[in-house]
């Protein structure tokens, strides 16, 4: 009995050791993975907007279409614009919900936010950097030590009921582009604005328009104006007096990529082959 136990014990230890080694290697790399991705999530509400690719037509005129639910909801906090006069210290809109879709040719971005009243001067905008140069989130304000680029602004106002394609490089330089590529449509119901902006992913105007390539991240920021009038008839928020967000990220998702599965299958095959050869070699060695 002890003889048999003596014989088995080392085998048990060897087996446990092998299994432990495999599991440790696995656990270590899994831990690494979560450490890398968990950080931004815990400190912020969202850091990016991801636009999945949809088949069929984009809901460019319908902020209530069911297909919007296939996009992940991103949520960004808003602040009053304080960077530059004329500033405001309190803005109506405090949070902005964003969803986005693309069909390989056009991108559609849905902004959704609470606003207690529908007013003709209610407005919303999306901002991107243009080209490779960094641009300050406040209208591409000039920076002292960094050469900045322009921003591309997609603007919508309730009473105009259309999208406007604009550029700016600092406050006071806002200009409407010659070629208008942006469409926008707003719908107000139950104290909530839903505004859809649409544009081709790529335009020919590299110096003026943000270019969106699938799979890549670009910077995005938002602004909202509450067009309500106060007792004296003045607009509550207008021009530089608005709710703004910081720069976040936007990505139009690339078509699904299955290559990871092929590589995994190949690796499994190689590992099996290695095992087979190893054991065969060991068995030969033992009998010899």
């Amino acid at each position: 009995m002890t003889q048999r136990l003596k014989h088995i014990a080392p085998n048990v230890v060897a087996g446990v050791w092998l299994a432990m080694g495999l599991l440790t290697a696995q656990a270590v790399s899994a831990e690494e993975k979560t450490e890398a991705t968990a950080q931004p999530e815990s400190t912020l509400q969202s850091v990016s907007v991801s636009a999945p690719m949809v088949k069929g037509t984009l809901p460019v005129d319908d902020p209530n279409a069911a297909v919007w639910n296939s996009a992940t909801l991103s949520r960004f906090p808003m602040s009053p614009q304080v960077h530059w006069p004329n500033r405001i210290l309190e803005a109506t809109v405090r949070d902005l919900n964003v969803r986005a879709l693309h069909d390989g040719t056009n991108v559609a971005i849905l902004l959704e936010y609470a606003d207690p009243s529908e007013d003709p001067d209610d407005a919303a905008a999306i901002e991107f950097m243009v080209g490779d140069k960094k641009a300050h989130f406040a209208h591409g304000q000039p920076m002292a030590q960094v050469e900045g680029g322009p921003v591309n602004i997609w603007y919508w106002k309730n009473k105009d009921a259309k999208g406007v394609d604009m550029n700016a490089k600092g406050f006071g330089t806002l200009s409407v582009q010659q070629h208008q590529d942006v469409k926008a449509k707003g719908a107000y119901a139950n104290g909530t604005w839903k505004v859809v902006f649409t544009r081709p992913l790529a335009t020919g105007h590299l110096d003026e328009d943000a270019q969106i390539t699938t799979g890549g991240f670009v910077n995005i920021a938002f602004a909202v104006w509450d067009g309500k009038k106060d007792a004296s008839g003045e607009l509550k928020e207008k021009g530089s007096q608005k709710a703004v967000s910081s720069w976040w990220y936007f990505r139009a998702e690339a078509p699904p990529d299955y290559s990871g599965y092929y590589y995994a299958a190949l690796a499994v095959g190689l590992a099996l082959g290695f095992q087979f050869i190893l054991i065969r070699k060991l068995k030969k060695g033992q009998s010899a």
Binding site: N11, A14, W17, T24, R87, P142
Partner: protein, 239 residues
């Protein structure tokens, strides 16, 4: 017999426990990244293998059981465990490969320097305003009007206008902000604002106004005094 394998297992277990639970608790130390722990465990393992294969006898005692386990000869009830290992190994390799080749959903990571070096002309400036209770009080008044909407009435960076900004407004009561800096540094940051930062400070993300266009220098120096006093911090000095 089993000892030649059992000892290494125990040794590796002890090394892991030391690296994971004891080292982080040594004063002045920090938790080790798991990749480093893994590296140390690999080093320990190779040391053990070298030691165990020094003589033919110890080599047999070390490899023998592993060989018998892998080939499955005379291991009785352990066959199930052996098949488990043989199945688990290719699956883990496949899983690892999938994880490392699959495209990442995470946006680019950003390493922003929070307190980059100021331009030369600002280093060593001293506050020209006499530190009197009156100037401090005035400075606190200016702070309340111009700074507190973002940096907070309690100097904690949690003003009502702060919520949307990333990076968030500095928390002056935190000992790692103005307590580490000289008054001249604050003068630069208030005067030139977020757009005055060098590239490593990512000026395009900062909402800090360029106060030089709105406030005279004297007000800025008084604000600095009020800020330190209100946040119960002192400026860093050369002494």
């Amino acid at each position: 017999m089993g000892g030649s394998l059992l000892k290494p297992v125990i040794l590796i277990g002890i090394v892991y426990a030391i690296l994971k639970f004891i080292v982080p608790n040594i004063p002045g130390s920090a938790p080790l990244p798991s990749s480093l722990i893994f590296l140390y465990l690999m080093l320990t393992t190779s040391g053990i293998v070298i030691f165990a294969t020094l003589s033919g006898e110890s080599k047999d005692a070390f490899w023998g059981p592993i060989q018998r386990f892998l080939t499955g000869e005379n291991i009785g009830g352990l066959q199930v465990l052996r098949y488990g290992v043989l199945l688990l190994f290719p699956l883990i390799v496949g899983w690892q490969t999938y994880n490392s080749t699959a495209t990442s959903d995470a946006p680019p990571s950003e390493n922003r320097t929070i307190h980059p070096a100021p331009p030369g002309e600002y280093t060593g400036l001293s506050n020209p305003v006499a530190k009197t209770p009156d100037s401090i009080q005035q400075g606190k008044g200016f702070y309340a009007a111009f700074c507190s909407p973002c940096h907070g009435g309690n100097f904690d960076g949690k003003g009502p206008a702060a919520r949307g900004f990333n990076p968030p407004p500095a928390n002056f009561s935190d000992p790692t902000t103005i307590a580490m800096l000289q008054e001249s540094y604050l003068f630069w940051r208030i005067k030139k604002g977020g757009v005055g930062l060098p590239i490593e400070g990512m000026p395009w993300k900062s909402a800090m106004p360029r106060w030089e266009v709105e406030l005279p220098d004297e007000w800025i120096w008084k604000i600095i005094m009020g800020e330190y006093d209100g946040a119960h911090q002192s400026p860093r000095t050369w002494e």
